[in-house]
Symmetry: D2
Subunit: 368 residues, 4 copies
């Protein structure tokens, strides 16, 4: 059974914290521009002393400035700052200037007594059995108590079994919001109309005659319906990811990209509006699972905090990256998303495994 780790709030009754000054702010000189010595957010829990009270920032994200509004701190993107906003300045994070970053949150003690171990990095050769077991338990917990954000690359819908598995995960309550691009939705709908993705059968892998028309025909039909909801209703689409989201009222944020044909209706042309739309969900997300999309994974990682406050409890956010390439996973680590966990595998196998296991009576390990 999954249980949340405890979070110990720093002891703000210590003299150091009591004697620390409140945060200093300076007004933003113009829309979208901040004072030179601005403070930038991290991925850790951050506290700001405002009118002599240390306040945890809620709904954080990294690489933003902090605007104090109505005596509360808020992480605001540069482009969303308004002239005159009270922007926190100064770069110390140790509490001395009214900003305290809790780098030790949720950290387990590491056994570092040995001078040497062979295997330290995460790779295709890492053992994933325990990660799967933990993830099964986490997902069952989150279905009832959390907010599950999935971030999908188009490959999820390039294979019949993985498309079906993902659809069932949505239908069975394991998805609270979905983030993807034009391609994922297009090829999912193409699969409905033609059983293909980019013209290739998602089961037999046969390249269909005139198959290169399939995705643009799909897009054209959708555009003629003006919304995806109308498309699903008009064509009575009962299968696939888009249909499952619409029928189960799971919000989809579809971000446009310079690669897109079309696009489909409801795809954000403006990427910064797409960020804002996604942040509505990262403000609530307690577990994020990213499958085979470097672009969307890094975007989501940038704006997902490492913690949330749920029912007054400070808890960690779990961030999973699943990709076949170590490079993608390590790049995310290098961007600062320290709390991420990863599976190095083909996401088809991952999502099929997940769905099978969650649909199976709980009698312990499969292989025991």
């Amino acid at each position: 059974m999954f249980t949340l780790p405890n979070y110990t709030t720093p002891d703000f009754s210590e003299p150091f914290f009591i004697n620390a000054p409140s945060v200093r702010t300076m007004p933003a000189p113009m829309d979208g521009v901040v004072p030179e010595n601005f403070y930038a957010t991290t991925i850790f829990p951050e506290y700001f002393k405002i009118h002599n009270t240390w306040q945890l920032m809620r709904e954080s994200r990294m690489d933003c400035v902090v605007v104090i509004k109505d005596d509360h701190p808020a992480a605001v993107e540069f482009r969303n700052v308004k002239k005159g906003d009270a922007v926190v300045v100064g770069r110390h994070e140790d509490g001395g200037n009214g900003v305290y970053v809790d780098h030790f949150a949720f950290n387990k003690k590491q056994n570092e007594t040995d001078n040497f171990s062979f295997r330290t990095s995460n790779s295709r050769e890492t053992a994933y059995s325990r990660d799967y077991d933990r993830l099964y338990e986490l997902l069952e917990f989150e279905r009832d108590h959390g907010y599950l954000l999935w971030v999908l690359g188009p490959a999820v819908t390039f294979d019949q079994d993985s498309r079906n598995a993902m659809t069932k995960l949505i239908e069975n309550g394991y998805v609270d919001a979905l983030f993807a691009g034009n391609a994922l939705a297009t090829h999912d709908l193409e699969s409905h109309f033609f059983n293909t993705a980019l013209g290739q059968d998602i089961y037999s892998k046969e390249n269909k005659s005139m198959g290169h028309y399939h995705h643009i025909e799909t897009i054209n039909r959708a555009r003629s319906c003006e919304t995806l909801e109308n498309l699903v209703e008009t064509y009575k689409i009962e299968d696939g990811i888009v249909s499952a989201c619409i029928k189960n009222k799971i919000p989809m944020v579809l971000a446009g990209s310079i690669r897109d044909d079309g696009p489909l209706p409801s795809v954000y042309a403006d990427v910064y509006q797409a960020q804002d739309a996604l942040r509505v969900h990262t403000r609530k997300a307690t577990t994020v699972i990213c499958l085979a999309t470097q672009l969307h994974t890094i975007a989501t990682g940038n704006m997902t905090p490492s913690y949330q406050v749920v029912d007054g409890i400070i808890r960690p956010v779990y961030f999973y990256t699943v990709d076949i390439s170590e490079f993608v996973v390590n790049k995310l680590k290098d961007r600062g998303s320290l709390s991420s966990r990863s599976f190095i595998t083909n996401i088809q196998d991952f999502v099929v495994n997940l769905q099978r296991r969650l649909a199976t009576p709980k009698d312990g390990h499969f292989n025991k």
Copy 2:
């Protein structure tokens, strides 16, 4: 010395072509929506019979519809179609319905007499000496006679030598237009201010103290200057890619993405406007070189034709992809950009090699 291959126009005086009907069109039913049986463009030279004359489409791109306007065919993206536009319909490409796709353009005869060869795919183990030699000659030719579009991933500016080499290529006339994202420009400018990229020194690789502020400080300075031109002038930036483009009046198209911090001024927030801005250059490009960016490479590949008409001559467009991952290169192939050539290597080495060789007296091979 580089010479262009000949292109043989199909013999439209043959009875088959003379007897073929003109293209059929139907009006677009609404803005951004086309008739069901639309014809979609390919990457090959395409001819349309209009008023009994076979016309080559100029400034083509794949996966578009063809709109006949003023008796000329034009490749138009779905989203740019206007209600009532005359859209070509029918899907035969053999001339029989007024559309002829010349699949054989520029194709060399392949020696296929053997039943078996060991090595057929392009990989890290492919021999690239001749490709380098050809590219050196091609670039010298294109500097005088063509239009060179470069597509850059941020890694070009993560290393001092490759940043310097790219800068010199711009200064020496080997770049006519540049396409990139917010990150390339941001880290190039960060290198000017801090000698770092994402906080890491681009020569010593030292992670600088507070280095995670560098890119957002850079962005904030740029935003306060309102344009990149002002930034370069205000801070007297004499080094790097952005400065070289501005000083040499090389157009930069910077496309926004959902990963972006900032963004910098002049970055397109709307990705479809970015596509339109890029297509201004792909309509003219005769050689395209893409370095270490899957996203921008595929975007550019989608909208680059395989041929151009220059001074009345039909000539091929050369499309190079340089990436360390076979997957990226093969993915481009699978997207239909058949005419692309690739180097599987680190783009730092590639760009440094290129600049050194082009700056060297022409005494034949380096290694001979």
Copy 3:
């Protein structure tokens, strides 16, 4: 239900074949050296005309010479040729000089009417559902009618679930012979003694104190027992791959490599003796499954024929490569092992999937 494809023997009653001369041979000039104009074997069915009879070569492999002995053709490695052996000479394969290579064996007709398809190569984004379904059926067929050779990289035993799954596949009759290196066996035995691989727990991934001693302690124990059979008996080893092979009398060929510590008893120090020992099994293999080992996979591919004669029937040999890297899979293709099929995934997931499915009542698709 799996059924074998038909093989149509060439019609040797045709005048061309009747009029063709018998093969020419020349004696090998010295041990391990063949005549200059030697004929080399391919991966296809090959027929040799000997005393006016066209004979299929059995137990073939590529890149060998053909020695005629007792009026039968045999594929012999260069190093195994003896002075005076009658070596087939001449390089035509079309029957004209008594050698006929059947390039068309088992080939399905390919639909090649379209000029273009988007996706043609095999990658991480290929749909694998059908390949899994076919493989499940094939394995059930082969358990009863074929000879299943598995080629294992050490990563199979780096994870608890995949080690258990592989062990069960052996116990349940899905393995007829196993080929691996010193590392696979060492870490499988290390898992028994310490629950680690290279010192890292195969479930918790904890790096154990003094864990870098684990594999060499394991090796030392095995060497003191002089055989793996004695080791398994002495230490009453009931779990893992090595134990399952020994208890079920499944032959293991363990080939030494220059990376090895130890080695364990029964590991071949001489790689060419290891090749000979492996060829005993490739002469019989009807399906080969290679997991996460470039070295052993290419070695096995080199010496596995594309067909076998079983109970008088000429049938194909199925060769599967499972690896997370497209490069490895494509390299095998480039080496000439044309008939191979591949899964691009993490082999942990692959082997766990396989075992679960084969242990499950057959009620159709999991996901339907």
Copy 4:
């Protein structure tokens, strides 16, 4: 100008070291088997107290046992231990039982004051300019004062420019010993006879008719000459790596593998004899450069110490891995070869860069 870092010997006059006992040994119970509680070597400088004197072990390597012979410690592989050898036992490394491992040798102080940096791992996006500059200087130093061991994968000889560059490095004194497999030597010689590697032209990349005969014809010619020296003389081979080694009397160790055709004369069939032959050179190596071969790189890493004693001075051994795959490089790190440095690039570019730069007048940076 390159200078060696200083090594500070531990102060063995401290009471702790003076009071420590001498090492304990136990006799090996049989050939190739050691006592249960054996001590195993690391990659760090190790001191053993013998007759009250602390002695540095020379010519070390990891994962061996230590045999005291004639009052000196020696790192001996398990298989090379003889019954009755005095094997060091006990596992403390802190000096307390007569064994002291100097984990701090050559370590620079790391700046770890910041809580966070974006980029910490080594990848395709790492800046390599400074590494190149250092390597140029190191190679010039080592040519005069060190012992340069190169470890080559076959891809070095798959391209004309890189084959030529490697050849010149040998001719110009930058190679003291070479380690490779059968394939490197075979394809280098194939390039002489046919200008191909595995049948593909190393400049034009054309697949030659009957090209799949090229490597086995090459092998057959070599086998008929009985030695590579005879082959080079008989066929007057003046180009390529094998010829350059033979003419410049650079020792080549060629290790057999289970992938091999042939093999060529002088290839070690027994991999453990190949290890012994290689260790002759790793006992002396001061810089090791490994190009595009996971197998040989790990093998060499296993038996290369992190330090040597040259003219009485304790100096570090520099170990470079050049590979296009982060996985290979990280795997080496995970095997314990902590002191390795890496370039993630195509080795063709690497070796061509190196040769060009070393052949160029020393006027500082190319790009400055």
